[in-house]
Symmetry: C2
Subunit: 339 residues, 2 copies
DNA sequence: TTGTAGGCGTTATCAG
DNA sequence: CTGATAACGCCTACAA
């Protein structure tokens, strides 16, 4: 079965391609009669414009690219969800790539997307990203670009973020208000801005409530895994048995912490209180239920796409565009692990 | 910054577009000298072929479409992972759409992808899918097509599946071997083939071990949620307090079951044993750890893409292609909930 | 070894 | 109201 083209319709109707094209796009300067006959024939032949040709002509593909560190991750899959839903609403499709937290891969993927000539790119940096040349290339080529969650502050682009520092401050303050006197922090890797900010928020909260900051109470994840949570929990118990509160970079790791404590009959929240970050679905399902910081992931996706759309539209109409940053609200969710 | 084209290179070098094109594709009939100068200039101008033009010429986009019921789902996000990894290896990009378990959306999305002229489509049916016209349309248009997980047996296409019936048989048999005498089943919705097959496997196991099948012990999920798990657990306890084993359609629901039992101090596995399905990450992290059926999700993605690739290649070379079905192995994972 | 010419299918301009 | 013509950028017989 061959694809129908404008040409075929024109020939069978004995009119010109131009007229067919106009009729289908409902131009005003085509007679009702021709219009009708064209539309009818097109419908009966199931005509759909060849998108390759349209892309070439219009120089846009109505496709955007999305690069994230990991698909299999409650937070990111929710963001994906928000992005593709909003994109679809606006007639865009989404190509998804995964950097696996590797800078090398990330660079390659940026290039893939640029070569593909997507209309825009949305991205969350890998933990490994301490180099920005590939990102600068995106801007240099004037491809609409939005960063979310793990961003580079140095890059002038639209951004969708939460205030990690404030959120971490609140989480730590929550532990303090619940009576914790000696609070450890299991932080994320050194590069990502949000790991840095959460650490700073933790530190600030301690200072604010006049608790001495002790660098020995800070444990740094390399891979941000469940197993690291277990491991650090064990270390904390061994090295600082009097720690009575832990603020953990993210729920997955926090769940590892809980697992270790459960296995070793260390009572939560009586002996140690634990608070995570992200409000991963699992956190409300484990025992004890994990207190955490709610992060509006789906909404982040929606806002990211909308910012990108704004920029794509400006670019099309050759209107100057200035990047915007949207900061979404977070909230503390109190559950059993900090009662 | 404008994009470099073959034409520009040709003009600055004072040669024809054809020669430039050939030089860049390393044709043998171009002199080394011209070749070098072309390649050098192209590199310095960062030339990349305009993919829109290439698509139009070659009639392929090196892009495939993927439709799944839900992105935010441990199983599916793992499949996505496998597909995009394998696709990228082979020079393909992946557009992802989500049907939200709705037939209407699914139909629209199939159409979107066909109009986009993707080179192939991979799909897992929504629970709502009891109509196959949109799928038949894919085949009619001779677009390479692969189904995985939730498939329609009636459609002649390549498929990647597990043997749900056998896996369910094994899960139920596992409960029986552990001493369960009265086993309930919380099944999935009525449409999806895999829900049907798992139910049949459950029934077969009972028959095989001479346990009377009782339809009252079968509970049917509508939305396959955590809350449904809690609800059905409650009902089971109320209606059949002597049930001592439950085989649950999927881990998410099983976790709901555990939650209800935990809250009501019903001891697992002493009073009731529970086995889930899918080996969702969470199942090894909750208390008690959930026994389940391991389903090779990442691998399903990889195999799905490879089957699609096979078909796409055949189509290109006009070699006839006969659909293949790959059945992947599952295994019972025994944890605390069935000790 | 190089170049000419035609076409992929659509859209836009401009003339009739 | 209609249509001829020229792009968009690339590829590939076929000539020269």
């Amino acid at each position: 079965m061959k694809e129908t083209t404008l040409k075929q319709i024109a020939e069978t109707l004995g009119i010109s391609i131009t007229t067919v094209s106009k009729a289908l796009k409902n131009y005003s300067d085509v007679s009702e009669k021709t219009k009708k006959s064209v539309i009818d024939l097109a419908a009966s032949l199931q005509y759909t414009p060849n998108s390759f040709a349209v892309n070439l002509r219009t120089k846009e593909s109505r496709t955007i690219g999305l690069i994230i560190p990991e698909v299999v991750h409650h937070f990111f899959s929710n963001v994906i969800n928000g992005i593709i839903a909003e994109a679809e609403k606006n007639g865009y499709l989404v190509i998804i790539l995964q950097s696996n937290e590797s800078l090398e891969l990330e660079k390659k993927q940026v290039e893939l997307l640029m070569n593909k000539r997507v209309d825009g790119i949305i991205m969350s940096l890998s933990n490994d990203s301490n180099d920005e040349n590939h990102i600068k290339e995106i801007l240099k080529r004037e491809i609409p670009f939005v960063q979310f969650d793990k961003i580079s502050k140095l890059i002038k682009s639209s951004k969708v973020i939460i205030n990690d520092q404030n959120a971490a401050f609140d989480a730590t303050a929550h532990l303090i208000k619940k009576g914790c006197k000696k609070i450890a922090h299991i932080r994320g890797p050194v590069n990502p801005q949000n790991a840095i900010d959460r650490f700073l928020g933790y530190k600030k909260a301690l200072e604010h409530y006049r608790i001495a900051f002790d660098y020995n109470l800070v444990y740094t994840c390399k891979n941000v895994t469940f197993d690291e949570g277990k491991l650090f929990a064990e270390q904390i118990v061994k090295e600082h048995p009097d720690v009575d509160g832990i603020f953990v970079i993210t729920d997955l790791v926090a769940v590892g912490v809980l697992a270790h404590f459960n296995e070793n009959k260390i009572k939560i929240p009586e002996q140690v209180k634990v608070i995570g970050f992200s409000n991963w679905f699992m956190s409300q399902v484990i025992t004890p239920k994990l207190s955490t910081v709610d992060q509006p992931s789906y909404e982040m996706g929606v806002e990211s796409f909308n910012l990108l759309l704004e920029e794509m539209n400006c670019r099309k109409d050759i209107i100057p565009f200035s990047p915007r940053t949207i900061e979404l609200a977070t909230s503390i969710i109190e559950r059993d692990s900090t009662l």
